[in-house]
């Protein structure tokens, strides 16, 4: 048996990407500094995007890169920076006792792997054609409704995030009188 010959370039690429994703996930779980966790997450997200592209899901891969890596990750890093004084020594990332969580996660992993391997999935022959046009078509036909609803979700999420993050509290006591209008600071109102 020729072990080496079985390793196709395809397999190499896949395992590279998979390792990137898994290692990133482990980094998120174990890194001692929250910033490292953030970068590990970036690796995972990138790896997953690579995995999408690997099987020809071009639109999905790009979307993953753009939205996750370009948007969510940046947001997370912002949050890290805003909530930790970088200058301070402990950019905390302490963990709770890991034994129980580890056991649970391992059990879950075992179960899901078992499911993944043992189930007789009904497979078809995959064809890799560009998907962008088909997805665009689907969004305007079959999935028009979810597409439109998603816009409401995003809009209201923005509004909600703004409401919550609005820096209204300057630790002033609550005025007891109902309906008393405090002077509105224009800058405050923006964020």
């Amino acid at each position: 048996m020729d072990f080496i010959s079985m390793i196709t370039p395809e397999a190499l690429v896949f395992f590279g990407l998979a390792t990137l994703a898994v290692a990133g996930a482990l980094g998120v779980a174990l890194a001692s500094n929250i910033l490292y966790s953030g970068f590990a997450l970036m690796a995972t997200l990138g790896g997953v995007a690579g995995l999408y592209l690997f099987i020809g899901l071009d639109f999905l891969g790009i979307a993953q890169l753009l939205i996750y890596v370009g948007g969510i990750l940046v947001l997370i890093l912002f949050a890290v920076l805003l909530t930790n004084r970088i200058g301070a020594v402990n950019v905390t990332n302490v963990s709770a006792p890991r034994a129980l969580g580890g056991a649970g996660a391992l059990g879950l992993l075992g179960l899901l792997t078992h499911v993944a391997v043992k189930t007789d999935w009904v497979l078809t022959t995959p064809v890799s054609t560009p998907t962008t046009a088909r997805i665009g078509d689907a969004f305007l036909r079959e999935y028009l409704l979810p597409f439109e609803v998603a816009s409401i979700v995003l809009l209201m999420s923005l509004v909600g995030a703004m409401v919550i993050a609005r820096r209204a509290v300057r630790d002033r006591p609550l005025p007891p009188v109902q309906g008393a209008t405090a002077p509105v600071d224009g800058a405050e109102r923006l964020l």
Binding site: A96, L100, G101, G104, A105, G107, L108, L111
Partner: protein, 815 residues
């Protein structure tokens, strides 16, 4: 089981009857909630406008349902049914909020709505100076609502709602002037005595369902796989019933819009389970010439269904359910006897029969229109109505019917004798009412259901007329309360207060006299009503009372001789004639009015007299129209034929029908009525001539007079026995409570402490008494469980992981 037949009335489902009680309810609601504001802002006219409008609307619907729908139904279908909503279903007992109008309840409904409307109108005049005008009309409407519920309800439960409702309204209305302590306590008395009767009613119902329950639970009619009450489909005769199937089970819960339908038994026998579909498709119609009826068998509270069940007859002419019920015994006595006795005690309470009549005379403390409406025309007849409605039960137990008839006749005589010497005009009428109700009970007691119902109808007319007439007189005499009258005529013994008139009392007949010129309309209507009640031909009372006496004489369903009842009844009728004419002559004749009276007394307003005239006219018309005797026409009277479907299971069993005898008895009745009239006229028509005679009579019979005037000291006897006894019982119970119950409680406490001590020994961390133990355990469990809630989100999230794993394991293990 052989073939089954039943004379079951198949009602016509119409969605209309609910309106009849609804309108008065709306009226009561409006006046009850907004009445005060309406009265302040818009005036009293608006208050009574609403109330009367609602009454007119209810009467209109009732008339439409009665004339437009009910009388057009053929005899076997002469019932309208209105299923409003299902109230309860427990197991296979379905209790619906539903109304039913059959000839009997239809007649009652018309009395209630029409007489009620009249009394509403009359009240606008009588109560015009009342402050809480709105409250009065609210109560009146509410009363009408309850009464309609009682009468139209299609089941025991509905009747009981109404039963309690009218009791409450009567209490509220008697105590209308609640600031007067005496009047308020009269209300209390009515309330308490009625509760005693209601207790009997409930006990009777309890016995009834106990008796039937065993049969229902035998399960022979109950299709257990469906868990539903079933319907036995029956046909009119064996010749048309196919041999293949005996009965077919279909879903018997007649919901709104779904009516029982005939199914071809042969077809259903071959296609079990299809019956419902057949219903929907309308297949399986009745065979040619056969009249099919359906009876619901199983637990029921509906009158019609119960009646249908009791009427089921098998091929041999036996009635299995009825026989089962009639045979069942408790302590050696048929259970039905207890059932009917209990129900009759309820009727005694509501209809003021011996020994529970005491509340009715006191109830005259209420406003006069109330006396007319509640205590003459409607509520007090509820007991008679109930017994007539349940004729199919009473007919199974001659013992109970005998009790009914005897109590009725005793009450008739007893109350009439008290009525002889009363001076308060309303008291006379009150005792007269009690006495007349006694006549009605004679009627239903001997099994002459229709005669009892007929007397109920005529009595409603003439007694309402009399009460309203007396109200008109009192209205006229009202000035006495402020001025003081001219004193009683026979004021020979001032110290004996039974003989001295209170000069300020507008209800005392001794203060009246000579009103015939001052109040002509009142006088003539009163006169007509007196003719009617004392039993002169052509007026209403003659036909109904004679029918009762004649039926009593000729036999009936009772264990004692009917002739005895007839004889006592005749005596009571004589007294009736006397005291009524006495009241007439004392009020309107006797002497010329004083100058003061001429100045103050004048005829009542048209709103009052018009009602009087209508009622008086009806008194004249109703009798011959509805009850023209068989002796002359050769046919059964109109009302009897009309009520026949209701009473068909319990027909009157006369010995023989002897035309000569009937006419002869009639003559006797007329004679005694004339005798009463003659005596009253001789003694009271002209005081100037008869004063000496009266005085002499009084002196000779002072002892009797004293006893009778004091109403045989019944109140005093009750006071000494029942009330004292009750108080003693209370004391005994208090003693029991103090000593025995305390002892039990202490013993239980000691026991619990003992257990606590024991468990404390067993478990040194200690459970302190059994009850505390459980509580402690639960609380401790609570604390343990709450410990999971650490407040740390990591642990929470771990709960998801653990939960998923747990569920997975449970599932896999279960598989």
């Amino acid at each position: 089981m052989g073939e089954l037949y039943a004379s079951f009335i198949r009602p016509k489902e119409i969605n209309l009857l609910y309106l009849i009680p609804l309108f008065p309810l709306i009226g009561a609601f409006i006046n009850g909630i907004f009445g005060k504001k309406i009265q302040d802002k818009l005036g009293k006219r608006a208050n009574h406008g609403i109330a009367i409008a609602m009454m007119v609307a209810a009467s209109g619907v009732a008339l439409y349902a009665f004339l437009g729908m009910l009388i057009k139904q053929p005899a076997g279908h002469r019932m309208l049914h209105d299923h409003v909503f299902p109230m309860i279903h427990i197991g296979s007992l379905h209790l619906n909020f539903a109304f039913a109008m059959d000839p009997l309840s239809g007649m009652m409904t018309l009395i209630i709505t029409l007489v009620g409307t009249g009394i509403h109108i009359y009240s606008t005049g009588y109560m015009h100076s009342e402050k809480a005008y709105w409250r009065f009309f609210c109560y009146l409407n509410l009363f009408i609502f309850s009464m309609l519920l009682l009468v139209l309800g299609d089941s025991f439960a509905m009747m009981f709602f109404g039963w309690e409702g009218v009791g409450l309204c009567s209490y509220l209305l008697i105590g209308f002037w609640y600031t007067d302590k005496k009047k308020a306590s009269a209300g209390m008395k009515a309330f308490v005595v009625n509760r005693i009767g209601d207790f009997g009613f409930v006990v009777g119902l309890f016995f009834l369902f106990w008796g039937l329950g065993g049969y229902w639970q035998k399960g022979q009619y109950i299709d257990e796989t469906r868990g539903a009450k079933d319907m036995v489909t029956l046909t009119a005769g064996p010749s048309v019933l196919p041999q293949s199937g005996e009965f077919v089970a279909v879903d018997g819960f007649t919901r709104k819009g779904v009516t029982a339908t005939w199914i071809d038994p042969a077809h259903a026998a071959h296609h079990p389970g299809e019956s419902l579909n057949l219903l929907a498709e309308g297949k399986g119609g009745p065979g040619a010439g056969a009249e099919q009826v359906s009876v619901v068998v199983g637990p029921t509270m509906s009158f019609n269904e119960l009646r249908g069940q009791l009427s089921i007859t098998d091929g041999g002419g036996r009635r299995p359910l009825a026989e089962h019920l009639a045979k069942k015994k408790v302590w050696g006595v048929p259970i039905l006897f207890f059932v009917c006795l209990g129900l009759f005690i309820g009727a005694c309470g509501k209809s003021a029969q011996l020994p529970l009549y005491v509340w009715l005379p006191d109830a005259m403390a209420g406003p006069t229109p109330v006396s007319a409406l509640i205590h003459a025309a409607t509520m007090v007849t509820a007991g008679v109505y109930m017994i007539a409605r349940l004729n199919f039960l009473f007919v199974l137990t001659p013992g109970a019917m005998t009790v009914v008839a005897l109590v009725g006749v005793m009450t008739a005589l007893f109350a009439a004798s008290i009525g002889l010497f009363q001076y308060d005009i309303k008291k006379v009428l009150a005792y007269s009412t009690v006495s007349q109700l006694g006549f009605m009970f004679i009627g239903v007691g001997v099994g002459a259901w229709w005669a009892g119902a007929f007397h109920l109808l005529t009595h409603a007319l003439f007694k309402a007329c009399l009460f309203l007439g007396s109200g008109s007189v009192i209205h006229g005499m009202h000035f006495l309360e402020h001025h003081g009258g001219h004193g009683g005529g026979d004021d020979d013994k001032p110290k004996d207060n039974r003989l001295a008139a209170d000069p300020h009392d507008p209800q005392d007949m001794r203060n009246m006299g000579g009103l015939r010129r001052l109040m002509p309309k009142t006088r003539w209507t009163y006169w007509i009503a007196c003719v009617a009640i004392s039993g002169f031909p052509l007026a209403a009372g003659f036909y109904s009372k004679d029918e009762i006496l004649w039926k009593a004489f000729s036999g009936g369903n009772i264990l004692v001789s009917g002739k005895l009842i007839w004889a006592i009844g005749l005596l009571a009728a004589t007294m009736t004639s006397f005291y009524m004419w006495r009241s007439y002559y004392m009020t309107f004749w006797r002497r010329e009015p004083t100058a003061e009276m001429k100045e103050h007394v004048h005829e009542s307003p048209l709103s009052m007299t018009s009602i009087l005239m209508v009622l008086a006219a009806l008194c004249l018309v109703a009798g011959p129209l509805l009850g023209f005797p068989m002796a002359f026409s050769g046919k059964e009277p109109l009302l009897e034929r009309w009520l026949n479907p209701v009473t068909s299971l319990a027909p009157f069993r006369a010995l023989t029908h002897d035309k000569g005898l009937e006419i002869g008895l009639m003559m006797v009745s007329i004679t005694v009525a004339a005798l009463g009239l003659w005596a009253a006229m001789a003694l009271y028509k002209d005081e100037s001539k008869t004063a000496d005679k009266l005085l002499r009579l009084r002196r000779q019979n002072d002892g009797v007079h004293k006893v009778v005037y004091a109403k045989y000291y019944v109140d005093e006897i009750y006071n000494a026995t029942v009330i004292r006894g009750y108080m003693a019982l209370c004391r005994v119970l208090a003693w029991v409570d103090t000593y025995i119950v305390d002892f039990i409680v202490n013993a239980a406490g000691a026991f619990v402490r003992g257990v606590g001590w024991l468990s404390g020994k067993i478990d040194k961390y200690g459970v302190d008494g059994a009850v505390n133990g459980v509580a402690t355990l639960v609380m401790a469990g609570g604390r343990r469980v709450r410990k999971m809630q650490t407040g740390r989100v990591n642990n929470y999230v771990f709960g998801i992981v653990a939960g998923v794993m747990l569920l997975f394991i449970v599932t896999v293990v279960a598989l």
